[in-house]
Symmetry: C2
Subunit: 182 residues, 2 copies
DNA sequence: TAGGCCATGTAACCGGTTACATGATTAG
DNA sequence: CTAATCATGTAACCGGTTACATGGCCTA
């Protein structure tokens, strides 16, 4: 999914500034399946406005930085609904951790242990985040997606905890490991 | 994970041609957590050879196209083992499907149904693929990762099947949907 | 007074994709 | 005879990241 569709989808639900969009995508309910940064949000917003799919207004509260609040236009809404007609692309998933796990025999046990534990901690944090989002969640689609993430992450954690030992047993068992800079 | 590390990791296990590497990454045991295409494999292989982290030899069987088989060098092995020392980056996950699910109320029910069912079919295919890989699997790290994928995908499917109805109930329920080109 | 949050933006860079070019062999 | 598989590569393009620039307010 490109930044354009994503931002249109967000603005379809609510008005927002670039800053807020970024927050939603890194800490908010979108963060589970999305990944985007300032460097693409602001330019995209500008392009969207140039195509008049969104409009903006400046808000100025005393003692606060200027906010540029974007709203979706009727044309933008049509674009968005239209984009929903094409079947969604497959998920993209990349995991460095799994490469490390696969090659565990070459890794130093301490490093592997740290990698597993950091992953567990990360997933637990994510789970907690999702739970706070879905706890008092009024939007049903968001609940559905939140429940999805919660379920899958729980399974993920389950496997990790249950099989931590098995992976650790492999760590560093390879022969012919060159004396590398560690 | 960049193409370089990934290819080095693969070549650390076995010699391979660019074509074979690509196969492993799209249909083989790496396909679950990796995503790479010819356009990055061949140039990367060339770069790797220029840095003498890998070497190549030409194989020519009668009646078959020429094969350029790459092997990792001692220097490459060291580079690879060294790269295992830095903690792995967080997983990258992007899902268009989940965006569609979140905005299900704006989607046409038929489209949503198709999206869910295609996802189910896809996951079932992936699961089967993983199972064939892990069934007679001699490399333990690969088994561990395969088991991981299997477990998580099973949970994924579970949620999808159990909550298909709930999502369908939301499909197309939004008011104020512009008469878009569908 | 240091660091974090609010807030907007730009420029350079890069990793990787898509599409193209080429061609032989084999299976249906 | 057609489609798929084996096999290698290039060039243009692009979406997005990283790092930078700027600055005021609030909290510890």
């Amino acid at each position: 999914m490109n930044a354009k569709t994503l931002i249109l989808a967000i603005l379809n639900f609510q008005e927002a500034t670039g800053y807020e969009i970024r927050k939603m995508c890194t800490e908010g309910p979108y963060s589970y399946f999305v990944d985007i940064s300032y460097g693409s949000i602001y330019p995209t917003l500008a392009k969207l406005e140039a195509e008049s799919l969104v409009s903006s207004r400046i808000e100025q509260d005393v003692g606060k930085p200027e906010r540029k609040v974007y709203s979706i236009s009727e044309k933008g809404r049509m674009e968005f609904v239209g984009s929903l007609a094409t079947p969604p692309a497959l998920d993209k998933f990349k995991s460095e951790f799994l490469l490390v796990a696969m090659t565990a025999e070459y890794g130093n046990p301490t490093t592997i242990a740290k990698a597993i534990d950091m992953r567990i901690a990360y997933l637990e944090g994510q789970l907690e985040m999702i739970r706070t989002h879905t706890e008092n969640c009024e939007h049903q689609g968001t609940c559905w997606v939140g429940g999805y993430g919660e379920h899958v992450m729980q399974c993920d954690l389950e496997y990790l905890k249950k099989n931590r030992g098995a992976l650790m047993a492999l760590a560093g068992t390879a022969h012919n490991v060159p004396a590398a800079a560690e």
